[in-house]
């Protein structure tokens, strides 16, 4: 299996990474160089192998407790806030959604 320039562009789109076209050839070479070392795994007999080590080795418990209270007031780290919500900058494609985004953080 080898990665093509179109694969890199496809994966970059999936990962929401803007990659200049000029970087694509180098990335193709690097990723193929790395993936070539992974081919050894194709020769391993993994029939009947469970996907993860026993749960005793990696214990989990129910996440039943309430989340931690923030130790800093929202206003101290939110760029802007209104009515208990964070406000993020408006994008041109959002259009006008009504009232102005006041600074009542």
């Amino acid at each position: 299996m080898s990665v093509s320039p179109d694969d890199v562009r496809h994966v970059a789109r999936l990962a929401r990474l803007g990659i200049d076209d000029g970087r694509i050839p180098a990335l193709v070479t690097e990723l193929n160089g790395i993936l070539a070392h992974m081919d050894v795994l194709q020769q391993v007999d993994v029939s009947g192998v469970p996907l993860m080590p026993s749960t005793a080795a990696m214990p989990l418990r129910d996440d039943a407790l309430p989340p931690d209270a923030l130790q800093r007031d929202r206003a101290a780290f939110a760029p802007r806030a209104r009515d208990g919500f964070f406000l993020v900058p408006r994008l041109a494609t959002h259009g006008q959604l009504g009232a102005s985004t006041g600074d009542d953080a």
Binding site: M1, V3, D7, V8, H10, V11, A12, L14, A15, R16, L17, G18, I19, L27, E30, L31, G33, I34, L35, H37, M38, V40, L41, Q42, V44, V46, V49, P50, L51, M52, P53, A56, A57, M58, P59, L60, R61, D62, D63, L65, D68, L70, Q71, R72, R74, A76, F77, V88, P89, L91, A92, T93
Partner: protein, 467 residues
């Protein structure tokens, strides 16, 4: 100053004033080692007592702190200050430790040399032309330079042990689940651990004892009590303190092409362990050479998911763009460096339709094989394993440019992360003046026996550990 630290054989009492004196002398900041990304000259203890009262500590910049920014060595999080504090950091402070600064690192902990920081490479205190290892290179350099005696790092594939080896100090990666990861910025969640650096085994053990144990804020933190971890001082030990201990020497970690200068130091350490009463037994972990390929599928795959949160909306950097998709892409391409971009692409590829079974699913199965081999060896009566920590001493800044060649510097460390077992590195000698690390690995939650053996070896090697 903590009485327990004063007992340590390595250094005199080390106060915050000593830390700043050392910081200024060795130039810990950007004009020298570049080990710190932020410092707090006004820091003082929050409690009057505690096992670390008055002890200056440094913390890797991917652990959330309230008083200093948490950037992960990335432009993406430049200036970001967390609204909550990592449990490990809180426990250090509640034990009386004084957080003097945040340490430089490979961006988002992706690297083995601390060259991948957006804020410039960290320099090895023993030779400024060389790397300190990575990704926790700033913490390792801060301890090795004598600025602090204890520092926190994080491990996903060896990012505490390998820099400890390169800098000639002790680095401990605990069992997966032994230390809370609440407030540790996620890289690869099935592998990430908080680890501890110390000037000596006892310092590292004390740091681990303070931060370890159950935490209601981390569902993956094990509900397993923490036994006393700080070994007795070597001078107080009995004549052959390791009598009855069986130490496995896995042949796959001593290949024919192992640097003979490293092999000779490992053999000397093994000879000392025998003199201390331990039995050394040849063992085999046949899938060891598959560990790096497995790791570099699983870790980037998990990273590609974890780092999706950096989208310009919630954290740090945001590029201006007319539409949402372009804003995401421009934010992420500007915010992430070369290696992070490479790993996100690699991880996205191995998880993508058509490749998932061939790469990710298969890697998970081989990971299970690797973990099972450790379980089988430990089931034969072997208490610990001893190996080299890294295949080479610290290399020069800029010397390793091929990504996979860099990945191979983790060849002896990634296995413990894949299996979730505790492991540590300690200095066992020098090659051309640069430190060589020896590694112990132990069964799950058996840190205490590992630290006891390490302390005994440290005492037996004495000055040899740095020769």
């Amino acid at each position: 100053m903590s009485e327990r630290l004063e007992e340590s054989e390595a250094l005199d009492a080390h106060t915050v004033a000593h830390a700043w004196s050392a910081y200024d002398r060795v130039k810990g900041g950007a004009d020298g080692l570049n080990a710190f990304l932020a410092i707090d000259r006004d820091a003082s203890p929050m409690v009057a007592e505690g096992p670390l009262h008055g002890v200056p500590v440094a913390v890797k910049d991917n652990l959330a702190t309230l008083t200093l920014p948490t950037t992960c060595g990335s432009r993406m999080l430049e200036g970001y200050v967390s609204p909550f504090e990592a449990t490990a950091v809180r426990r250090l402070r509640e034990a009386g430790a004084v957080l003097i600064g945040k340490t430089n690192m490979d961006e988002f902990a992706m690297g083995s040399s601390s060259e991948n920081s957006a804020y410039g490479p960290v320099r090895n205190p023993l030779d400024h032309s060389r790397v300190p290892g990575g990704s926790s290179g700033g913490s390792a350099a801060a301890v090795a330079a004598g600025i602090v005696r204890i520092a926190l790092g994080s491990e996903t594939g060896g990012s505490v042990r390998q820099p400890a080896a390169f800098c000639g100090i002790v680095g401990v990666k605990p069992t997966y689940g032994r230390v809370s990861r609440y407030g540790l910025v996620a890289y690869a969640s099935s592998l990430d651990n908080v680890g501890v650096f110390g000037r000596c085994v006892r310092d590292a053990a004390l740091g681990l004892e303070v931060i370890a144990g159950p935490d209601r804020f981390d569902a993956t933190c094990a509900d397993v009590p923490v036994p006393p971890l700080v070994p007795a001082r070597s001078g107080q030990s009995r004549h052959m303190p390791l009598t009855g201990l069986v130490i496995g020497k896995p042949r796959e970690y001593f290949p024919e092409n192992l640097d003979p200068r490293i092999a000779v130091h490992c053999e000397r350490a093994l000879a000392r362990l025998v003199e201390l009463g331990a039995e050394v037994r040849d063992v085999s972990l046949p899938s060891t050479d598959l560990a790096v390929p497995v790791y570099y599928i699983i870790a980037p795959a998990e990273a590609s998911s974890n780092l999706a949160r950096y989208d310009g909306v919630r954290y740090g950097l945001r590029a201006e763009a007319a539409d949402l998709g372009t804003m995401y892409e421009q934010t992420r391409s500007r915010g992430f460096g070369t290696e992070v971009t490479r790993r996100i692409l690699l991880g996205t590829y191995v998880l993508s339709a058509g490749y998932y079974d061939a790469y990710y699913k298969r890697a998970q199965a081989v990971r299970a094989l690797i973990a099972d081999e450790f379980t089988r060896v430990f089931a034969t009566g072997v208490h610990l394993l001893f190996t080299p920590t890294a295949p080479s001493p610290a290399f020069r800044i800029g010397e390793v440019s091929d990504p996979y060649e860099m990945y191979l510097s983790d060849i002896y460390t990634v296995t413990a992360n894949l299996a979730g077992i505790p492991a540590m590195s300690q200095p066992i000698g020098r090659v051309d003046g640069m430190p060589v690390g020896g590694q112990f690995m132990a069964p799950h939650f058996e840190e205490a026996i590992m630290l006891r053996a390490a302390a005994a070896l440290e005492g037996a090697l004495g000055a040899e550990a740095h020769q």
